[in-house]
Structure formats: C-alpha cells, structure tokens
C-alpha cells in the first residue's frame, strides 16, 4: 500500500469529563485500502470512527481527509466534508417516512443540489449495485434488516464519498442476513473504495482487510496484516481478545 493516505487520524484524543475514551490515536488509511478495527466493547473503536466525520467531536487532534484538515472551518465546510465521508450505522437509520428511493435521493437533492432526474438515476445505479433496485418504491418497514442495511450503504454511496465508515454494520442483523451485507462491502473494496470498518466479523477481516487494527482501552494496541494479527499477534491483550472471540 504505497498509495497516499486518504484518511489520516493524528494524535486524536476524546474525553468525556474525567473519562478519557481515546488517547493519542494515530491511524492512516491509504486510498483504496480497507482497514479493519477490532477490539472489546468499550475500547473506543466506535468513538474513533464517529470522530472521523465529527459526529463525535474530538477533544483534540486532527482528522485529515484527502489532504485537508477537517478540524476547524465553518459549519458549511463541515457539511461539505461530511458529504465526502459515507457512514453506515449499526442500526441502519433509514428514514421510515420515505420510500427507499427517497432515502437515497434526499441528501443528493438537498445537500449536493442534484436535479431530480440526476439523483434518481444515481440512486437507481446504487440500488442496483446493492441488489435492491426492485425495492425502490418500498418503505424501510417492508424490508429485512439486511436489505435496510444495503439501502443505507446505497444512500451513502450515492453521494460519491471518498471514504466509507462502517460502524458495526452487521451487528444488528440475523445471522442469515449478514452475508448479503458483507458481499456488498467486498464488492465495494474490489471497486477501490477506501474503507474503515469497525466490526466483529473476523472471518471477513481475514479474507478482505488490508490491515487490522486492534484497540483496547482507548489506544491502538497493535496493527498489522490479517495474517500477522490473527496468525501471530504480538501483544498479550490481542491474544487474549482473539481467543475470547474465537471461543
């Protein structure tokens, strides 16, 4: 991975009152790279991810997206930056009062100011890509969890983001629905998307990730290729965690 960094987290700190959630996090994600973050719950991995588009406001440190520091700047700079960072949530968060198509076109129309024709066409392309073009007129309540999550991915992709953030995208899904979402993510990776993924899908990480980062207690304990982390972890904490999850 000699590519330039697309997303760079530098000396990131996050404190809630007296609690330090993240301590001096440094992480680079190169263009087209898939970085997988694992760690026990409470390790700060979701908070770190949410700092990347400032859904969570960092206490200090820098987030650099494609060479531009997104800390500071006006609120419209922030909104413009967020258009370039796609985010997929554990709970999908589709808009229940809108059809699938409207879910995917809303931000295209209102934030990117695309025309209806353009936004609809782009939305249908993205829905096609996640295998749900035939559900364009359905409402979220009529879809399975896996389908909702794929619509959520399409909603983020439709804005042509430079980076996609995944916050435990399959944790709320029934086991038989997980595969369909992972398949979409794998396809995204193959098409060159830069991705930062927080998840417990170890098999997927082993197969797809370029790099695996292990976090615990608000710090990055260890990082390396999937083979290094899963095959011969250096830190005791990593070994302990991996033996717990592989049970």
């Amino acid at each position: 991975m000699a590519n330039r960094p697309m997303l760079e987290i530098a000396a990131l700190e996050k404190r809630f009152g007296a609690n330090t959630i993240l301590k001096q996090i440094d992480l680079k994600v190169a263009e087209g790279e898939l970085v997988f973050v694992i760690g026990p719950s409470g390790s700060g991995k979701s908070t770190m991810l949410r700092c990347c588009n400032r859904l969570e406001e960092p206490t200090s440190g820098d987030i650099i997206l494609d060479g531009r520091n997104i800390m500071g700047g006006t609120s419209s700079d922030l909104a413009r930056m967020r258009l370039q960072v796609g985010m997929v949530f554990q709970g999908f968060h589709l808009y229940p009062h809108m059809s699938v198509l409207k879910n995917v076109t809303l931000a295209q129309r209102k934030a990117l100011k695309r025309s209806k024709v353009e936004a609809d066409a782009r939305a249908m392309d993205m829905l096609e890509r996640v295998g749900l073009a035939h559900k364009a007129d359905a409402y979220p309540a009529e879809l399975s969890g896996g389908q909702q999550q794929r619509v959520a991915i399409a909603r983020a992709l439709a804005l042509d983001p430079k980076v996609m953030l995944f916050d435990e995208p399959t944790s709320a899904l029934d086991p038989e629905l997980v595969g369909s979402v992972l398949k979409v993510m794998k396809d995204l990776k193959a098409k060159g998307m830069t991705m930062l993924v927080v998840s417990h899908e170890m098999a997927f990480a082993r197969e797809t990730a370029d790099r695996v980062v292990f976090m615990d207690g608000g710090v990055i304990v260890e990082e390396g290729t999937p083979d290094e982390i899963f095959g011969s972890p250096k830190a005791d904490r990593t070994r302990a965690f991996l033996s717990r999850v592989s049970g």
Partner: protein, 224 residues
C-alpha cells in the same frame, strides 16, 4: 313529557331564533379556524426553534409554554378585554378571543410537537447530519415529518379542547353560538335556544371528534 318538550324543543322558538344561532355558528367557525391555524403554526415554529437547544431562546419558550398552559384562558380574556383599554389598547371581543385562544393553543402545541421531536430517534438525526444535510435540513426533512406524525392524535384532541373555548366569547360580547343562544333564551324565556346551541356545537365538533378517533386508530407507526 310535554313540559320537557315545551321547554327544550319548542318549535316556534326554534324557528324564530335558529337564524341567530346559525349566524353564531359562522362566528364560532371563523374564530375557531383562525385560532387553529395561528396556534398550530406558532406552536410548531416554537418547537422547531427549541430543537436548536439554545439556552436563552429555550428558557423563554419553556416559560411561555408553562405559563399559558397553567392560566385559565378566561382570566386572560377578561384582562385583555376589560383591563387593556385602561392602558390605551382597545381590542374587539373577537380579537381578544382570537389572541388568547391562539396563544393558549400554541403553548400546548409547542409541547406536543416538542414531545414528537424528542421521540425521533437520535440515529435519524445522525443519519441526516452524516449525509451532509446539516442541522436545519435534517430538522425539516427528517425529524419534522416524523414528529408531526407522532404529534397528530394529542394535537387534534388539544385543538378540540381549545376551539370549544370560543364559548368564552359570550363573556365579552362576541356573538358566537353560546352568546346568540343565551340572548335568545332571555328574550324568549325558553330554554329551547340552548338546545339549538347544543345542536350547533355538535354539528361543528362531532366531525372533529370522529376525525380524532380515526387518527388515533391509524397512527400505529410501521416500525421495521
């Protein structure tokens, strides 16, 4: 039985005073409609403003909502109608009724819409903001439609309760239904005009009650 019918359903009295009561219906309807539009619009506006969670505006919004929900509208009506002329502000009875009832409805509507905003999941806001919509557009396109839908049943009930209070206009000479009926009652010495007022109120409010019931039954929100 004859005496009962004679008292409450005297056909001669009915025929004579029906036009007055019907005219009163017109007044009630116009004031009620104006109160509904102004009260809901103001209440919704305040609830949206409150969603920005700015300390100072929210302090005033909450004070306003609490005070107007606590005070009996009749007290305010009497103050505006009988007290304000002494400080040089002279308002017609209809205007006083409109202002007080609108402000009262707005106070309740603000709280109802606010409860609606509060029940919109945090993830909905995050989804909107993460897609670059910014706070205001997320408010308008994502949170508001969901909040309004949640607010509908309690709102319709409150609208009913407040618009019925147009009858308070009879205390300050607004010739709405009740006022027209009590005047007719004094002139005729018969209780029949009051029966007319009952019919008039039912004609206006029964459809609204039925509508409210229908709304309550259909708001079971389709969740995933």
């Amino acid at each position: 039985m004859d005496r009962f019918l004679e008292t409450f359903f005297n056909p001669v009295v009915m025929a004579k005073y029906a036009p007055d009561v019907i005219a009163g219906m017109g007044v009630t309807l116009v004031i009620a409609a104006a109160v509904i539009v102004a009260g809901i619009a103001l209440g919704l506006g305040l609830a949206c403003l409150r969603a920005y969670r700015r300390k100072i505006p929210n302090f005033f919004i909450i004070c306003y909502a609490d005070i107007f929900r606590a005070l009996p509208p009749l007290v305010l009506i009497l103050i505006l109608y009988f007290g304000f002329p002494s400080i040089g502000i002279r308002l017609s009875g209809s205007m006083v009724l409109f202002i007080v009832l609108s402000l009262t409805l707005a106070a309740f509507a603000e709280e109802i819409f606010w409860a609606g905003f509060s029940s919109v999941e945090k993830g909905q806001w995050e989804a909107g903001i993460a897609t670059g919509l910014g706070f205001t557009r997320t408010l308008v396109y994502v949170a508001l439609p969901q909040a309004v839908r949640l607010a509908m049943p309690p709102l319709v009930n409150r609208v009913l309760a407040i618009t019925k209070m147009t009858a308070l206009g009879s205390a300050i000479g607004v010739v709405e239904i009740l006022s027209a009926s009590t005047t007719a009652q004094s002139f005729s010495g018969s209780a029949t005009p009051l029966t007319l007022s009952v019919i008039a109120y039912l004609a206006i409010f029964m459809p609204m009650v039925v509508f409210a019931r229908w709304l309550e039954n259909r708001t079971a929100w389709k969740k995933r």
